[in-house]
Every structure is written in structure tokens, then in C-alpha cells.
Symmetry: C2
């Protein structure tokens, strides 16, 4: 068995000449690729089961590498989680190009689950795991990222398109939560809509509805 695995890894039968072709099976050593594979596998596993439910063994298996590499490249489970969180943080920054009108912005947020389901799920898990502002390394980045959206809402309010009684910050939070519902409330969707909340067709429909909601509130561009 052990020799079989090794053979798999080396990508050639033991008796054949070692490392003949330069790229026979993509199985040369490549620490950067291995690292990224572990990160990808971690995203899938953490996204699926959350931090507590994720298993290091499962991550290694998904990545097709030895379990020990998780400790080798990162600093154990916790370190891997943090490294992965950091990587995902960057992707999220690209999500909302400034100046996009609110309805379209919400539509994209809701569609994000199709592009990166694990990322959205991890974001949801992190909300439930959240203990306080102290141990939240992403806080600064998130604050900066969202402040422009709040500013947009405030501008709409100043221009009279939004009643004075509305708290723009709360409104933004509620709208964000609304767009994530296909991820956070799949059981409710299954009950109320009777469809698979993960199917691309429904997600697109739901994203359109998020845009409709935004227009209903009066969040058209000025």
C-alpha cells in the first residue's frame, strides 16, 4: 500500500527510469502548488462544515497530500484557517467596484454564491463563530470596504430618496443579510419556495428579487 501511494505520487511505476519526462503527470515537487491545493481543500472543508466541523484529515485527503503537510506549511488547523481566511478576504474586496448602483450591487452580492459558494458559507460561519471585536483580524478591512456603501446610502438619504428615520448602517446590514439568504436560510427557502436553494436558476431568480427589493426601497442611483 505504501509503495502504491508513493507510486501514485511519483507518477510512474517503480521500475521505470526515474523522472524521465519533465512533466509526465504534473507530479514533480511544487511547494507553491501544494500549498495552494491545501488552501483550496481547506476552503471547501471549512466552508462545508465550519471550523469545528472541519477535519484536518479530510482537508489533506481532499488536497491529495499527506496530513502532516498542514502542519508543515501552516501552523496546524488554526493557522490554516487564518491563512485561508486572509486569502478569501482579498477576493471579497474585488466584489463591489465603487460607484455601482445599489440594486446591481445587491444583485451581485446574491450571485456571489454561484461564483464562490465556500467563501460565502465561510463568511456566514464566521458570523456565528464571532465572539467579539478583539479577535477579529478582518475587522479593519471590512470596515473600510463597507464604509463606501454606507456613504452611498447616506448620500441617497441626503438627497431625499430615503426617509430620515432610516439608519443607513442598519439598512446596509439588513440588505447584506437578505442577499445571503440562499446560503444562510436554505431550509426556509426549501419550505417557502419549494425549490432547491442551491440551483443556479433559483439563485439567479433570488438575485433579481434582491435588486427588485432595492428598487422598492428607492435605492436607484441618483
Amino acid at each position: 500500500m505504501s509503495s502504491f501511494v508513493k507510486q501514485m505520487y511519483t507518477g510512474c511505476v517503480p521500475s521505470s527510469s526515474p523522472r524521465r519526462s519533465p512533466k509526465p503527470q504534473e507530479r514533480q515537487r511544487d511547494p507553491e502548488r501544494t500549498r495552494q491545493r491545501i488552501l483550496d481543500a481547506a476552503a471547501a472543508e471549512f466552508g462545508a462544515h465550519g471550523y469545528a466541523g472541519a477535519r484536518v484529515r479530510a482537508i489533506a485527503a481532499r488536497a491529495g497530500v499527506n496530513q502532516q503537510l498542514v502542519s508543515y506549511y501552516f501552523d496546524g488547523k488554526k493557522g490554516l484557517y487564518q491563512a485561508m481566511t486572509q486569502q478569501w478576504q482579498q477576493r471579497r474586496a474585488e466584489l463591489a467596484p465603487p460607484g455601482t448602483p445599489m440594486p446591481e450591487q445587491l444583485r451581485r452580492y446574491a450571485l456571489e454564491v454561484l461564483r464562490d459558494p465556500e467563501g460565502v458559507r465561510m463568511f456566514a460561519w464566521s458570523g456565528l463563530d464571532y465572539t467579539g471585536p478583539d479577535d477579529d483580524p478582518d475587522r479593519a478591512a471590512r470596515t473600510q470596504l463597507l464604509s463606501t456603501s454606507v456613504d452611498e446610502l447616506r448620500a441617497l438619504q441626503r438627497s431625499g430618496r430615503l426617509p430620515a428615520e432610516v439608519d443607513p448602517a442598519c439598512l446596509l446590514v439588513m440588505l447584506m443579510a437578505a442577499t445571503m439568504a440562499t446560503t444562510t436560510l436554505p431550509h426556509v427557502i426549501e419550505s417557502v419556495c419549494g425549490t432547491d436553494p442551491r440551483s443556479p436558476e433559483f439563485v439567479e431568480h433570488f438575485a433579481d428579487q434582491a435588486a427588485v427589493l432595492a428598487r422598492l426601497i428607492g435605492l436607484e442611483p441618483a
Copy 2:
């Protein structure tokens, strides 16, 4: 050590006469109370950490009982989880008395986190743990419970207060997700609002904002 623990439990020093007063420490046997204590502790623990993160030892410690009782009264961790879910299901049914106008209904949903934080959190965890309609024992009850709300929205739509392009079912889901944001997105609230998302003052403010949102959409009673 063991005698010390026993002493703690009995509520009297070993040499003293056994069980003198009828109610010296509230420590008479009371299986029903013990059962309920375990259920309450389970709600706290499962709510705090989710199913995967919850520890049977921690539940027993919280309840102040021996760990084995979890297996004695329920059927292990899984059985306890189901029993507790069932109990919480009933409470949720009392949440929305039919006929309540939408803005008020949403306000109450958002306030529920003050009355029963663990319940709301468990509901959120269950959404992320959700795998499909097959293993969802609550589905029927939830469907029935929410159908009246969807019907209300449909009625509003028929009366022209809601545009035809709105899908009432999706709207309800989005509004539910919005009202749960103090639980599901505390990190975002911390970033955007700069306040403690769990403080009663903020939760009440947020609940008011949920009602404002409902009125903004046009969900006043007909």
C-alpha cells in the same frame, strides 16, 4: 475527591444525619427537573457552538449533572439535539400570531434574539448544517408556519400595494434573513455600526429599523 463531590451533591457533610430537612439545598431527586436542566444546558451549548462544536461534557457541566445522564435521558448527543430542537420548535410557533401586520411581525422577529438568543442562533446553525429536504424533520411544521405569512404578502400584492414583479416567497425569506442579522452578521454590525450587536439597546434599534424597512416596502396592513 469523590467523597467531596458526593458531599457537594448531597448538600451536606457526610457525617451529618442524612436528608434531614425536606428542602435543604433543592437537591431532592427530580428527574423532570434534571431533564429540563439538561435541555436548557444543551440549548446554551448548541446555540453557542453549533452541533459540531458543542461538547457533551460541557453540557453536563452547565447543567450541573453527571455526563452519563445525557445518555440516560436522551439517546446520546444526537438524541439530545433532536429533543431540544423539538422543544424549540414549539416556542417558535408562538412567535407570530396570525393577523399581525408585517412591520410589527418583523419587529418581533428581530426582538426574538433578546427573548431567546440561543434559539435564534440554533436556527442559524441549522441553516448552515442543512444538507437537503430529506433529513429535515421540521420541514412540515415550518412550511405551515410560514405559509400564512406568504399568503399575507400575496394578498398585499393582489391589492396592488406590492408590484407584480415581486416574488412574495423570496421577499419573505429576505426579510427573515434581515431580521436575524444581529445574530448572523454580528461582525458586520460591529464594523458598520460600531456598536455591540448583542446589546439590548442596539437590538431594539435594529428591530425598529426592520419595521421601518417593512413600511418602506409598503407592507402596511391593508
